[in-house]
């Protein structure tokens, strides 16, 4: 899976007058249909599954999920307060995400800039990338125990490669003229890397961060699932062990909320870092 994520185009379109009115109406329509789809799916689920108590146990039901969330918030979960579980998982994900991202950028730029390093380390990275890294979770739990470290290690490993390949690609795609111009103006090789290659590769790097944070959450939760004492992964495992489908779904809802919040933050970061780019007309945003 040598996946590079292609930089997204930021879509900001200035509108005015009748065009603006049209856009507002369109947005209302879109949101209206979205709400209708949600109601239809949840309603069908509630009515179809909710009528049969055996199915409720197997599949869970929306009203049961809401009740479970309420219980977790007010009473707490089987492994402690809900806030603590969320905090533990986010802590692991963010710590691993930051370390993995920094390592990915440093190695990506270094190999993208220095041919010798790319020739030496390229094959190793390809091999490491081709193994299913999630299995390393077991190794890390054995090696580093049930605490924070094993999860952070797994997150780092999952985050690193996506960021690395994008940083590497970004460093190689830098306009040759920009580099030559900076060199002639007096920049050292290090200054070129810092002030030309890095900002130029940022479009690529930032694009990879969206996917990377998704991997960070997956890593943290799978790590907890494989062997942990606290966190959303443990919550899911406990719910599964007690045939509590509603609990599994409830934990997933929380993960979804966390992922959306992270996505929002990363998009803000992206807008800030790539402020210099011209506003672009883009296709449908997903």
């Amino acid at each position: 899976m040598t996946s590079t994520t292609v930089p997204a185009t930021s879509g900001e379109v200035r509108r005015s007058g009748a065009f603006h009115l049209h856009a507002v109406r369109r947005r209302l329509l879109v949101h209206g249909v979205q709400a209708a789809v949600l109601v239809a799916v949840l309603g069908f689920w509630q009515l179809y599954v909710g009528a049969d108590s055996r199915k409720i146990i197997l599949y869970g039901v929306p009203s049961g999920i809401v009740a479970r969330l309420k219980e977790w918030v007010t009473v707490g979960t089987a492994v402690g307060s809900l806030g603590d579980q969320i905090k533990v998982t986010i802590e692991e994900a963010i710590l691993g995400f930051l370390i993995g991202t920094v390592l990915g950028i440093v190695f990506g730029l270094a190999l993208g800039r220095v041919r010798f390093l790319a020739d030496v380390f390229g094959p190793f990275i390809k091999v490491l990338n081709s193994i299913p890294r999630i299995v390393l979770g077991s190794v890390f739990v054995l090696a580093f125990g049930l605490g924070l470290e094993s999860k952070v290690m797994l997150v780092i490993v999952l985050v690193f490669f996506g960021v690395f390949f994008n940083a590497f690609q970004g460093a190689r795609e830098v306009d040759r003229n920009l580099i030559a111009n900076a060199r002639i103006l007096g920049a050292s090789r290090w200054q070129v890397t810092r002030q030309v290659v890095l900002p130029s590769a940022f479009t690529w790097i930032v694009a990879s961060l969206h996917v990377a944070f998704g991997f960070a959450l997956i890593g943290a939760i799978v790590g907890e699932f494989i062997g942990g004492l606290q966190g959303l992964g443990v919550l899911i495992k406990t719910a599964q062990g007690t045939f509590d489908a509603n609990g599994v779904w409830a934990a997933m809802v929380i993960m979804g909320a966390v992922a959306l919040a992270a996505e929002w933050l990363i998009t803000r970061l992206e807008k800030r870092l790539l402020r210099w780019r011209p506003p672009q007309l883009s296709g449908p945003d997903l």
């Binding site: 030559a180 111009n181 002639i184 210099w276 011209p278």
Partner: protein, 275 residues
């Protein structure tokens, strides 16, 4: 031997230069051969020649971005090794940093060389004003017109007070009016610091209007200097008007005779390859 100014080394000196490129397939392509070219200190030299004759390659050799396969390239008497110091380079396409505003782009050179931010910025403001961009310090490149971006590139180079300025078809992407305007301003700015200039262009009128000397190159592969024409037109010149002078017209005809033969050769070679 005395070191009188007359015997000071020329700004740029190419002797017997050959440049080979190795294609991905492994064949060797000779872009330049037997190139001899001298540009005096403070001289404005224009280079014309058909596409692919090695004009850009010549500039990259002088700038130190490439090494000659054979022969010597000297700048101010020093054999070029590594990026040539004291050189400015204007690329055909934009090479200013799109994520830096005009002020930071113009201040880039001094900042790379370790000049304090305040000094660099005040110097940059001065050069921004000289190229006619006062008031645009905070704009990003994508907010500027093509002509304005060229002005930024010009200021970015001139702030370093280069001894030699290499320009690779710098104005070719501009519309005709803007181009004439920029050429005029280039002459004004050149007058202030007087670097030696190598100005590559495919526009013979532009070459004659600007230069002290026009160099015609032969068609590639293996492009070389075919002829040099001194341009004695008096300065200061007004680029838009000088082309009507009888002396200009006469020069134009003479140089065009030489150039046309090469353009025809290049054209027939391209056609032969395409056929």
């Amino acid at each position: 031997m005395t070191t009188q100014p007359a015997q000071a080394p020329p700004a740029i000196e190419l002797r017997g230069v050959r440049k080979d490129f190795r294609s991905p397939g492994g064949e060797i392509y000779t872009a330049l051969r037997d190139v001899d070219l001298t540009v005096r200190v403070g001289e404005f030299c224009a280079v014309v020649g058909p596409t692919g004759c090695g004009k850009s390659t010549t500039l990259t050799l002088v700038a130190g971005m490439e090494r000659p396969t054979e022969g010597s390239v000297r700048v101010a008497g020093q054999e070029v090794s590594g990026i040539t110091s004291g050189a400015g380079f204007m690329f055909q396409t934009d090479a200013i940093l799109p994520w830096k505003n005009v002020l930071d782009n113009v201040a880039a050179g001094p900042r790379y060389r370790g000049v304090a931010k305040r000094t660099a910025h005040s110097n940059a403001r001065d050069w921004i004003r000289r190229v006619g961009l006062a008031g645009f310090e905070d704009r990003y490149p994508h907010q500027l017109s093509g002509g304005m971006r060229k002005r930024v590139a010009l200021a970015q180079n001139l702030i370093n007070e280069p001894r030699i300025l290499l320009m690779d078809e710098p104005f070719s992407a501009l519309d005709v009016q803007t181009r004439a305007l920029m050429s005029n301003e280039l002459l004004g700015l050149w007058d202030q610091t007087h670097p030696a200039v190598v100005f590559v262009t495919h526009d013979l009128e532009e070459a004659i209007a600007l230069a002290d000397k026009v160099v015609v190159m032969t068609a590639g592969p293996g492009g070389t200097v075919k002829a040099e024409f001194p341009i004695g037109l008096p300065r200061p010149r007004v680029v838009q008007e000088i082309r009507f002078e009888p002396e200009f017209v006469d020069l134009y005809h003479r140089i065009w005779e030489t150039l046309r033969a090469e353009v025809d050769i290049a054209y027939s070679r391209t056609r032969a390859r395409a056929a």
